[in-house]
Symmetry: C2
Subunit: 110 residues, 2 copies
């Protein structure tokens, strides 16, 4: 039976591929708006080089699940994500700061 | 700084107390609407007797985080939840079936 719902813990840790087929990483977590319970964006954690990782926000509507690959396909490439906000491991990036004036098309959908 | 966002993996496994102060259990997962990325409901897993658990849906707006207890307070009691849908461990309950005609006030907020 086809579902319209998906459990949060079945989204987390799923691999994400870019529009061009390149693996971007995996979904680290979802950032939820407390008031509305809407996903503001997902965080993609890249595979990482030398044990470091990049963390990129991507809006929910840019992610489409591919049941054959058991992975999400993102309507973006790594190059496009790199033009938006990014966090490194250990950064004290304030992911909930709405006052940031990022206008990246794949960031913040609430 | 006050945030308007909360990470999904900081919601999961957090304890939930009822309106009357009784512990209901913990948040097992969030059920998200695939299309809109909105939380349809959270699933509360009860503490369980004889190693069995009940799983109750509760809408997001009925959960309020209490930073002093590091727990959610639900606008419902266990008795109220028990009047709505419930799953036991191993049940093949279809949590995404919108055709079910539950009209419970704490179920399904999308």
């Amino acid at each position: 039976m086809s579902h319209t719902l998906v459990p949060s813990d079945r989204v987390e840790h799923v691999n994400v591929y870019g529009r061009n087929g390149t693996k971007l990483g995996s979904i680290e977590r979802l950032m939820l708006d407390k008031l509305t319970g809407t996903v503001a964006y997902a965080v993609i954690k890249t595979g990482g080089m030398l044990s470091t990782h990049h963390h990129y926000p991507i809006k929910w509507s840019a992610l489409k699940y591919d049941p054959e690959r058991l992975a999400y396909e993102a309507e973006a490439t790594l190059e496009e994500l790199q033009t938006g906000p990014c966090e490194f491991d250990g950064d004290e990036f304030d992911w909930g700061d709405r006052s940031r004036s990022y206008t990246h098309p794949n960031y913040w959908a609430v």
